[in-house]
């Protein structure tokens, strides 16, 4: 395939994001703790809760590695397995090379209330960048990755919190993970608790377990 043929689809998500109206929802992060006001032990406690979220299949299933295969967690099954239908997200991570994720996972802020139907969000369905692989990674590996601007989209600690809020403003994947609907298993805790935990972890200096 000519790379140029992918261009419209590769830039489309960015263009759509730029075209979206500003925050429809009134979402704001709570005041962040002062840097240094949270002990390393408290920061590690917060990280343990963050790790439980980011390593949960509801979140990690779309943070897969360079095989570009999304994973599935089926209601009633304990084991995660590759997405059915021979789905490959490709190097584009949005399926542009073959079958676009959006062919089934339409972009919509409507509730996800139908069991077994493909879930959707207010932003284009996609795998996270491969640098952000969580699936099959250990907690310490994910921790090191999340504090590394080379792999986390150039974000400092405050930038990570802003990322969560920005995603929520778009009805994105993060709040969806805590309320996936349709009988799907949710990530542990709530979105607000997750934001607070990230704030605590950042204020503690982003400590990682050994």
């Amino acid at each position: 395939m000519k790379p140029a043929n992918l261009a419209p689809f590769l830039v489309a998500p960015l263009l759509v994001l730029l075209a979206l109206p500003l925050a429809a929802a009134d979402i704001a992060a709570p005041p962040a703790p002062e840097p240094g006001s949270v002990s390393e032990a408290e920061g590690l406690d917060a990280w343990a809760r963050i790790e439980a979220v980011v390593s949960h299949p509801r979140c990690a299933n779309c943070h897969t590695g360079p095989d570009n295969l999304p994973m599935w967690s089926i209601v009633g099954e304990d084991k995660t397995r590759p997405h059915g239908m021979n789905i490959h997200a490709g190097e584009s991570r949005i399926g542009a090379e073959t079958l676009a994720c959006q062919t089934c996972h339409v972009t919509s802020t409507a509730p996800n209330d139908v069991a077994h139907a493909p879930p959707h969000a207010g932003i284009e369905w996609q795998l996270a960048p491969v640098e952000m692989q969580w699936f099959d990674k250990t907690g310490p590996e994910i921790c090191a990755q999340l504090k590394d601007p080379e792999r986390n989209g150039g974000r400092d600690g405050d930038g990570l919190v802003e990322h969560l809020i920005h995603d929520a403003e778009k009805d994105g994947f993060v709040p969806w993970g805590f309320a996936p609907g349709g009988g799907r298993e949710k990530a542990p805790g709530t979105f607000d608790e997750h934001v607070r935990d990230v704030q605590l972890w950042v204020a503690a200096g982003q400590p990682c377990p050994q």
Partner: protein
């Protein structure tokens, strides 16, 4: 009232915003090429194009489609047969035919993106379109034939 383009014509529909596009096409506009198969995007029989991309019409809510350009099998050839449709005839692809409009729309979208797909490309792209008659071998042959025909033009 929601306005969108369907097969090049501006259409207005007065329906609930959560009505699936497939219902709008079939029940409101009388466009019955897209078929109802599973209702949960697991079969591909309802595939249409929305703004140039293959989409399962059972999943797209009409409230999200104001201003969209929708193309169904009825408008694919714009008055003649699209190369994929002609290849489908030449290779006698369908058996019962129920899934075939979705298959053709998915195949046309594939060739828009990838004018010379390999067998692997086709397998990956078409895997979400089920055919219980098992016409997959002819589907693949027809897509290759359509690609070759389109490359001549």
């Amino acid at each position: 009232m929601i306005e969108l383009s369907v097969n090049g014509e501006t259409r207005q529909v007065d329906v609930e915003p959560d009505m699936p596009l497939l219902w709008v096409l079939r029940d409101e506009l009388g466009i019955t090429g897209p078929k109802y198969g599973c209702g949960v995007a697991q079969c591909g029989a309802c595939t249409v194009h929305v703004d140039g991309m293959a989409v399962r019409a059972c999943q797209a809510r009409i409230g999200d489609l104001a201003g969209a350009e929708v193309l169904t099998i009825e408008g694919l050839g714009a008055g003649t047969l699209h190369a994929v449709q002609q290849a489908w005839i030449d290779h006698q692809v369908p058996q019962c035919g129920y899934c075939q409009t979705g298959q053709i729309m998915q195949a046309a979208a594939l060739l828009d993106m990838n004018p010379a797909p390999t067998d692997e490309d086709i397998n990956k792209t078409m895997a979400g379109n089920l055919c219980r008659c098992g016409t997959y071998v002819r589907i693949r042959e027809a897509i290759h034939a359509a690609a070759a025909k389109m490359a001549e033009n």
